[in-house]
């Protein structure tokens, strides 16, 4: 047969098959070639990792100023003084977060700029450092705190999970049994004014425990003092919390001063109220004192090694055996810290004043404890 134009050659089929196999194999390699160009998930993972490190291992940063205030102590109207977020207690305590910093960090708002840190700008400027969307969540005591956007469902994102401990703040509860055991209600003078004082020995607090993970530092972490069971002391008598004074003792050079508590951020909570109450205030059952760390910071920066919180109660009737542990000299309005508590020149303390000592004794104060928590950062 001389005309073979309609015949498909076996050689052609073999050659074309080889070509097709090679062609398909090469085509299958193309997606792999593009992997290097799809680097966004890698970038997101890196940003998430960096953010996680800053949160867990860095204490954060604030403007350089004197006295030194930690960033979490700045209120919403001063938040521009916060330069960088970081939740660690200190640089020396990675993975240990401060309760105050956690509370402040997750105080987030999307509408009112004066009601917390604004999402997303405040967080991008102080933590993310880029135009990314993010979600930061913390699982603590079975509850999840969150800042940022909702996690995306149909797209990938970079993430990092860190395991941390949270340092709880110290607190003290002075209840009826404690008052009775410490002779705080044994006074026999039939008077209408009673004065109770609390001693914050800052030098001892910072010297006795130096590890920041367990240290009680009034200038950095809020301490809470609850005075409860007041209605049991003198039933039927109206109790007024008339005033609070703060006395400070500086040993070098020796000086002692007392001044009224005028800081709105340090007013007491009364009878379980959610807001701070100005004085005078009627008290039925309990008082909760939670001082602004900046308030203590100012005094400690001025050299105060000892701080006394002096609380004046006025009863509607003269009664003995109310909360009273302070011999106020010469009187409350003109109170002299040297004669009432301690004379830094002579080193002599007034034995008739026995203030409640806020210290590391577990009978007096619930010590800072560390608990487990999980922190996750997602970036996309």
């Amino acid at each position: 047969m001389t005309d073979d134009s309609g015949v498909l050659s076996i050689d052609f089929i073999v050659g074309f098959t080889i070509f097709l196999i090679a062609f398909i194999w090469v085509l299958s390699m193309i997606p792999g070639l593009l992997i290097g160009l799809q680097a966004y998930t890698i970038d997101y993972d890196a940003v998430a990792y960096r953010t996680g490190v800053m949160l867990v291992e860095d204490p954060g940063e604030q403007v350089v100023a004197y006295p030194y205030y930690p960033w979490q102590s700045y209120g919403d109207l001063e938040k521009e003084k916060v330069i960088r977020f970081g939740l660690a207690v200190s640089r020396d305590t990675p993975n240990i977060l401060s309760q105050d910093k956690v509370n402040r960090f997750f105080c987030v708002t999307i509408s009112d700029p004066d009601a917390g840190f604004g999402y997303p700008k405040d967080y991008k400027d102080r933590l993310i450092f880029g135009d990314y969307r993010f979600n930061i969540s913390l699982l603590d005591k079975g509850q999840t705190l969150s800042a940022g956007d909702v996690l995306p469902v149909n797209m990938s994102y970079g993430n990092i999970r860190r395991i941390v401990k949270i340092k709880s703040n110290s607190n003290a509860t002075i209840d009826y049994p404690y008052m009775a055991n410490h002779s705080y209600i044994d006074n026999v003078d039939n008077v209408s004014t009673h004065v109770f004082s609390i001693h914050i020995n800052n030098s001892k607090l910072l010297g006795e425990v130096i590890d920041p993970a367990y240290q009680i530092d009034p200038s950095r972490e809020q301490m809470t003092i609850n005075i409860t069971d007041l209605e049991q002391l003198q039933p039927g008598v109206t109790v007024n919390l008339t005033a609070i004074k703060i006395c400070t003792i500086v040993k070098n050079p020796p000086s002692a001063t007392c001044s009224p508590l005028t800081s709105n951020n340090s007013y007491p909570y009364v009878d379980g109220s959610d807001t701070r109450i100005p004085m005078p205030a009627t008290v039925n059952e309990n008082i909760s004192l939670r001082f602004d760390t900046q308030y203590f910071n100012d005094r400690i920066s001025a050299g105060a090694g000892d701080i006394f919180i002096v609380i004046k109660f006025d009863l509607s009737e003269s009664r003995p055996q109310f909360l009273n542990n302070t011999q106020v000299l010469p009187d409350f309005n003109n109170m002299d810290a040297e004669t009432t508590f301690f004379n830094p020149r002579t080193g002599i303390a007034n034995p008739n004043s026995t203030p409640f000592d806020y210290n590391y004794h577990p009978d007096n104060v619930t010590q800072p404890l560390l608990r487990d928590a999980i922190l996750e950062v997602a970036v996309w």
Partner: protein, 173 residues
């Protein structure tokens, strides 16, 4: 002799075209493949950070007057006995997530110490979830822990303050 020999040319062309394409692809792949550490190791890094965090957190005492949980576990654990407290705690730490659901991370933990008598390093198993299977890729997280414990080969009677190395291999199901 075959009159129509065009088929031979087809085969040669096929081979030549295939060869050219493959060589070209090989050159292109080698020329454009940018090796990014995060590309292949990002999951390893995340897992390693998680393991290191868990060991670190377990070695932090809850309060100033206590020993860390990790120290207590090693001190109280008889050598070679699978320690369930470590397993439960460590597994809970590395698998818990802030959202609902749990991760699926497996691990095996060894403790290494210096045998003073033998002059070499000995190790024993502390806890494991399951054995590492062929093909599974693990990462390592370690933590030096100071313990007050008598270990084999110490040559003394009673506990001794010393450092031991806790080593965890982690991998995902």
């Amino acid at each position: 002799m075959v009159k129509n020999d065009g088929g031979q040319l087809y085969t040669i062309e096929g081979f030549a075209a295939a060869l050219i394409m493959i060589i070209t692809a090989y050159l292109v792949v080698n020329a454009t493949s940018v090796y990014t550490a995060g590309d292949t190791h990002i999951n390893d890094m995340q897992l390693e950070a998680l393991g290191s965090d868990a060991l670190r957190v377990m070695d932090i005492p809850v309060s100033k007057d206590e020993h860390s949980m990790l120290q207590t576990i090693i001190e109280d654990n008889d050598i070679g006995v699978n320690n369930l407290t470590f397993g439960t705690t460590f597994s809970s730490l590395i698998n818990n997530q802030t959202e609902s659901g749990r991760d699926h991370i497996q691990f095996t933990t060894n403790v290494s110490y210096y045998n003073i008598t033998k002059g070499s390093v000995d190790s024993y198993l502390l806890n494991y979830t399951r054995n590492l299977r062929g093909g599974e890729h693990s990462v390592r997280a370690t933590k030096w822990v100071i313990v007050n414990k008598e270990l084999p080969g110490d040559g003394v009677t009673g506990p001794l303050n010393r450092a031991v190395l806790v080593e965890v291999l982690l991998w995902r199901d």
